[in-house]
């Protein structure tokens, strides 16, 4: 009996090989086609749902699906970049104007120099940077994204992307977890619960960090605006180029997600993608008031508070590192100097790498820490938003290549502490958590290294 069984299994294996991997998909497709044909015979629809159908035919069509998706994303990025510039300048003028008064207040108190150095140049200035650089893009991006969610567009994205994810051996719902990742990677990791198969769920969890979360998004916006947006960001062409760069980075993140998913599903997480039914809900008119309140209160302020809680001590720490000297050199220079040789190889510098390491608890504080480190020991610079930032970076030897590498490293590097803890909680395994840390980091280092060496080899910088 079991011999006969074995024989049948052998035969089945052989036939499977002949039919190729498409067999499963073909079987499912035949089923769905028959179901559709039968349903069409039996059901007559009133005209009401026709609107949804017609919109779906365009938004999820083979020809227009992807271009519309890209255009929408690009539009959202452009609105964010263009719109964030003005309030950003306003906020930074306000906050750094206040700094002068605070200093005067401390002088009037006859407070010791180290105290107001620590509190003002350290804690306060980092907080001011976090608020002025991070808040405006968040406050614009979040409502726009929630608007798309409320309209019912996100399931359509999952529908469009399903084929791609199937081809790399992952689950079509992974694009929904990625969409959540735009808000927060920890939320994206939790969202992976909607995927039933443990194998595909792990893939979704491990790759979620390649979606730039909203803590890293302002970093991308700032870098793109400074190094690729041209001299004046307010000029239309400049903001268009910067949006294109941000879009490119996000697409690179999607590409890396697909590549890593493929890699995982062909090595440690082998298996076939499972089929699923995705319901496309009817389009609804968005509730604009609710969206604004919800995205500002629930998301923007929440993220900002988290950033501020971590930024304040980090700012103080940086100030101490920059102002306490050992052997005539500040600790910051020691640490940065120690990291520098390696950082140089991947087109960064010691300070940037240190900022990414210190940014482990929250990615929001990376750019503020970099700025702080450059400014803490130096003299006061006239600080007004983007052009000031460009000047600071230029004085510290940044080129467009440095900007590009910060973009790449920010997109690809290890997830933040909260996300790592969430991965640990969701997978219940230290091993997968470690992989969730090591894999992106390795990819970030390799890609930055290759880009840097290639650009230097050709002599573009």
């Amino acid at each position: 009996m079991s011999e006969q069984l074995q024989e049948v299994l052998q035969e089945a294996k052989k036939l499977r090989g002949e039919l190729g991997s498409a067999a499963y998909h073909q079987i499912v497709t035949s089923l769905y086609q028959k179901a559709e044909a039968t349903a069409q015979q039996a059901v007559r629809k009133a005209a009401r749902r026709d609107w949804d159908r017609r919109i779906d035919d365009i938004l999820t069509s083979r020809v227009f699906g992807y271009p519309i998706m890209l255009l929408l994303l690009a539009g959202v990025f452009w609105l964010t970049i263009q719109g964030a510039n003005y309030p950003s300048a306003l906020l930074s003028n306000l906050l750094f104007g206040l700094e002068e008064h605070l200093i005067n207040f401390f002088l009037w108190l006859h407070a010791p120099a180290w105290l107001y150095g620590f509190l003002i140049a350290g804690v306060y200035r980092t907080l001011a940077w976090v608020v002025s650089v991070m808040l405006p893009p968040m406050a614009i991006f979040f409502p726009l994204f929630t608007l798309m969610e409320d309209l019912g567009y996100l399931p359509r994205i999952a529908f469009n992307m399903d084929g791609l994810f199937r081809r790399v051996g992952a689950h079509g719902k992974q694009s929904l977890t990625m969409a959540m990742g735009f808000g927060c990677n920890a939320a994206g990791v939790i969202a992976a619960r909607i995927i039933q198969s443990p194998r595909e769920r792990l893939i979704a969890i491990l790759t979620n960090t390649f979606v730039p979360c909203n803590g890293r998004f302002p970093t991308l916006v700032a870098m793109a605006a400074i190094f690729f947006g041209g001299a004046s960001v307010s000029a239309l062409s400049g903001s268009l180029i910067a949006s294109a760069v941000v879009l490119g980075i996000v697409l690179l993140g999607v590409l890396v997600t697909l590549a890593v998913s493929w890699l995982l599903s062909h090595t440690v997480l082998k298996g076939l993608p499972s089929n699923f039914a995705l319901e496309l809900p009817p389009y609804r008119p968005p509730q604009v008031g609710k969206i604004i309140v919800r995205s500002i209160l629930d998301r923007t302020l929440f993220v900002l508070r988290r950033a501020a809680i971590i930024a304040a001590p980090a700012g103080g720490l940086i100030w101490i590192l920059a102002n306490v000297s050992i052997g005539g050199t500040s600790i910051l220079s020691h640490v940065a100097g120690f990291l520098n040789p390696f950082a140089e190889l991947i087109g960064l510098d010691g300070v940037i790498l240190l900022a990414f390491l210190l940014g482990l608890p929250a990615n929001e504080i990376v750019v503020p820490i970099i700025l702080m480190s450059y400014l803490a020991a130096g003299t006061m610079t006239d600080l007004e938003s983007i052009s000031a930032m460009r000047k600071v970076f230029a004085e510290n030897g940044w080129t467009w290549l440095t900007g590009l590498n910060v973009l790449l490293f920010s997109l690809l590097h290890f997830p933040c502490g909260t996300t790592l803890l969430t991965i640990k909680k969701e997978t219940g395994s230290a091993k997968w958590t470690l992989l969730g840390f090591a894999l992106p980091t390795a990819i970030a280092v390799i890609i930055c290294f290759l880009v840097t060496q290639l650009v230097r080899l050709i002599g573009l910088v």
């Binding site: 049948v8 079987i27 015979q41 039996a42 059901v43 009133a46 039933q196």
Partner: protein, 237 residues
């Protein structure tokens, strides 16, 4: 409780009112028990119709039987090994197309099917006109429109189930025809399966061949499991 006349399986997508149908049919005569295939507690209940006793097994709500999840495996294993005399598939009238996918898959395992189109009232409210006569003709099995919440159509459902279970109605289920290459492979495999499963019918062999082709490992596991348990007598799968 050993005087059960018929065992009936109750399948359906999630959120189709399957539980409402189950409760409406069985009332308080419910208990949980273990069924062959998987040792998972399953809600069962019973009702009496025309002096015959029917035991209803409430399968987990699933979108398909392709065994991607545990629920799908349980539902599939019961249809395969539980030997129900009839299977009711509850479908949601407001999204028939998605629900028919499961109906077609059940029809690949068994001929003894009654389709219960539930939520007819909601469909009407949404402006959907559903012709159950056409659906019955297309599927080749009895199709009963119901509104389980207000117990409408349940008598007709019981009658159809009784007729199908007692083979008073001969069903002519419509089957999915696959692309030529796959149909060819099915034929080859079915022939190979014949000596192994000589007591099973051609439909069952075709279904097993299909699962072997789409690489469903769980059916292999269930199959070998079954063979090991029934080593003495020949498999009746």
């Amino acid at each position: 409780m050993n005087c059960v006349d018929y065992v009936i399986a109750l399948a359906g997508n999630p959120n189709t009112g399957k539980s409402t149908v189950f409760n409406a049919l069985t009332g308080l005569n419910q208990h949980t028990g273990n069924w062959p295939g998987k040792t998972v507690a399953q809600a069962t209940g019973s009702y009496v119709y025309n002096h015959k006793k029917y035991t209803l097994a409430d399968l987990p709500g699933t979108y398909s039987l392709l065994a991607a999840s545990v629920e799908e495996q349980i539902a599939r294993d019961f249809l395969l090994f539980g030997n129900p005399q009839a299977t009711i598939v509850v479908v949601d009238a407001t999204c028939l197309e998605r629900n028919l996918n499961l109906v077609l898959q059940v029809l690949e395992i068994t001929d003894q099917v009654v389709v219960c189109v539930n939520l007819m009232d909601e469909a009407r409210r949404k402006g959907l006109a559903l012709d159950t006569a056409i659906l019955e003709r297309e599927l080749g099995v009895p199709v009963i429109p119901t509104v389980a919440r207000s117990a409408r159509g349940l008598e007709e459902l019981k009658e159809a189930v009784a007729d199908v279970a007692a083979c008073r109605i001969k069903t002519h289920p419509s089957r999915v025809i696959y692309p030529e290459a796959i149909e060819g492979a099915i034929k080859t495999l079915s022939a190979k399966l014949q000596p192994l499963l000589s007591r099973s019918n051609a439909l069952r062999r075709r279904w097993i061949a299909l699962r072997l082709l789409d690489g469903d490992d769980t059916v292999l596991a269930a199959l070998t499991d079954y063979f090991v348990k029934n080593r003495r007598e020949e498999g009746t799968v």
